[in-house]
Symmetry: C2
Subunit: 311 residues, 2 copies
């Protein structure tokens, strides 16, 4: 059973890791948002790809979910002395990833090729695919004007009120052919518990039509709610729902993905929303969706796979 | 009295630091060899410029003479995991220098401008000037073929026998205009105790003619021997003399620079060579030339300045 996981950063990486634990690794492909990618200090940085890669490699910082465990910050301190901006906390080992990626991209490799090489070097067995090899930067429309994603997310700590999201460059972006090929061979697609607006929507903008065609051919798509008890486990998802005038809930997530899903997994705390979600035409499963450790990741992934078998 | 120091790496940096301690810092310009510069991991690395900068900033690693004190090597370890070559020991803080330089060069700044910005950020008061803004890589002709400088010097630990030196790209290299302007305003040029073949000769290839003209107009050039008691304090200078069929000595250094110098400082251990060096038309001074600490650097610098006053 070939599985595809659609993932953004920390939450998505955790479930992708669970899927790698619960299913044969070689049957898993993780398609990752690259709308967060940006250039800093002349380096090409892909925060979501790196979070997924480090998590699958077992190297992620368990405290933050992003970055590397046991990281040092000597380069960042020195960059600060040189007057560079230091709000993006680049670790020393992490910096090696960006340096290597940037050199290979400049040498003409695609982001897909570079990602495969980095993952192979770190012993990551599932395939990790950027959603596209082209730039498609996510712009956050806020009360204070339009902000580049990392500017909004890291530098401003997602405090400005969001009014909308714009995906720049969509007119020229080519969806990743490797993602399309993976979709052709997949039987299940999992929408990981990532931010719907800024993590999975960019992937869906590029691959949503292909996903719909694939479902018509019998493919099964299931999602895990990133909202538990009306709040996001991490990040601005709940705040964004509110700022767009929607009460954050598992139901709101299901409505956001309406027409795209066969199944939906929500947390036991949100059991009251089951009927309303089922009414959207989705098979529903209730469980503990909070991933505190590897065992949680694996168990949730197994539940997701089981639901896909039924939906 | 405006002073120019011609310097390569560690030995040159030490005397340049001594000159900064012995004379008003704002009257000192250090012209640095860039023949060692190379690209690694997509980064533009200038080993001699960095050694001079770190030394003048008081940040150099006192054990090695190059690199930064208290350095960590997390990025290098990770670069190794990615399959990159790790024979060039890039520290984490040092990496920030290369990342910053590379980004600014890509943005269109000259190496002279980038160097000035980096030095200013680290509080370096003397001017530090690359000999040129253009690439002029030093190639070492060896028994095992021609090797790029860092390949010979670091990776092969200067073990292959040297048969000659080739400065690549000289037909298109433009000497630094900032160096020419500094020379016009200088009264003394100091040849630091750097390797004659691979540290100072590149500078002289570019600026030797201008230096000769400046001496005709009354300028005074003095050198400090990098050879003490027939050996180099550090690096392959003595080995290179031998491989070229010349017995390494202060006299051999003076002969190498014959016609370019008004004065020559040699170590007390080499006092027997004084007459032969004086016979080359140089004013000679004997002292302890080994720089063990800051006090040694300052004292030697003061002796050099005193000799320049006499020569």
């Amino acid at each position: 059973m070939n599985l595809i996981a659609l993932a953004g950063g920390v939450g998505g990486a955790k479930l992708a890791h669970g899927l790698a634990l619960a299913a044969p690794e070689e049957e898993l492909t993780v398609v990752v948002n690259t709308g967060d990618d940006f250039e800093l200090h002349g380096l090409h940085i892909c925060p979501d790809l790196d979070t997924v890669m480090y998590t699958l490699a077992g190297l992620a910082n368990p405290e933050t979910g992003w970055g590397l465990a046991g990281e040092s910050f000597g380069a960042l301190e020195m960059l600060g002395r040189y007057g560079a901006e230091t709000w993006f906390r680049l670790g020393d080992r992490d910096l090696a990833t960006h340096v290597t990626r940037t050199a290979r991209l400049r040498a003409g490799d695609t982001l897909t090729q570079v990602t495969a090489a980095l993952c192979a070097a770190l012993g990551v067995r599932p395939r990790v695919l950027p959603m596209t090899d082209d730039p498609m930067p996510t712009m956050i429309v806020t009360d204070e004007g339009e902000l580049a994603f990392q500017d909004y997310f890291v530098r401003r700590r997602w405090q400005p009120a969001m009014r909308g999201v714009r995906f720049a460059g969509t007119e020229s972006v080519r969806p990743s052919p490797a993602v399309r090929a993976a979709l052709d061979g997949a039987s299940v697609v999992v929408f990981c518990p990532s931010n719907p607006f800024v993590s999975l929507d960019p992937i869906l903008v590029l691959h949503g039509k292909a996903l719909a065609d694939w479902r018509k051919r019998g493919g099964c798509a299931v999602a895990v709610s990133p909202i538990i008890g009306g709040e996001a486990v991490k990040g601005p998802a709940a705040k964004m729902f509110r700022e767009l005038g929607v009460e954050p809930s598992a139901l709101a997530v299901a409505e956001h993905y309406r027409g795209l899903l066969d199944g939906f997994v929500l947390d036991q705390r949100d059991a009251a929303q089951v009927d309303a979600i089922a009414a959207l035409g989705m098979q529903v499963r209730i469980t503990d969706t909070l991933m505190r450790n590897d065992a949680d990741r694996r168990r949730l992934a197994a539940e997701v796979i089981a639901l896909a078998g039924e939906a």
